[in-house]
Symmetry: C2
Subunit: 111 residues, 2 copies
């Protein structure tokens, strides 16, 4: 990313959406969220068993989801229990809803 000019000022919406989208931009992370949903919560170890990926890789994916705010971890020593961060999940839901809501009309045949 070789930006020469000053950074672009994107709208807050665009930045947030892109941030959430980025967190969702990997099938493993989608599957983790699906699992998290079906179980309501889970431990890192559960996922390591499910996915044919190294423990460190799963940890990395969890970190990204956590950094994006979509999930949260709670110490349940010596394990860590992860679950959806409902507040941000709802935020993300709204943002995507807004994004897709728009293009409904297109009834004006200028396209």
């Amino acid at each position: 990313m070789k930006r020469t000019i000053e950074d672009i000022n994107y709208s807050e919406t665009a930045n947030s959406l892109a941030r959430f989208a980025k967190a969702l931009a990997h099938p493993t992370r989608i599957e983790i969220l699906h699992y998290l949903d079906s179980q309501s919560c889970c431990f890192t170890g559960d996922l390591v068993e499910i996915f044919p990926l190294a423990q460190s890789t799963i940890s990395q994916h969890l970190k990204e989801l956590k950094n994006a705010g979509l999930i949260q971890g709670e110490l349940n020593s010596p394990k860590i229990k992860y679950c959806i961060n409902q507040e941000n999940w709802n935020k993300a839901q709204k943002l995507f809803e807004e994004l897709f809501k728009k293009n409904l009309g297109d009834s004006n045949g200028n396209c």
Copy 2:
């Protein structure tokens, strides 16, 4: 991406969602979609004027949106008119809707 083991079998849903999410994972592309929405369609040149980015960079972003199926281009020589690909847009909308719909309950206090 140094996968040593055979590739993982993700669900079709996970793959599609991740694919769409990836296309949405950059603020410039979100803004392009917003603009495309407000104008119903536009030319590459319009975007080059709006964003402080090189023409080739805009082209690249358009290519990604096109590859993900979210937009489509139509020759309008010597320009190219882009607009939302309604069919895939609706598909994406449904996928995200499904993803977010799930976690509503959480009324079972086991988290």
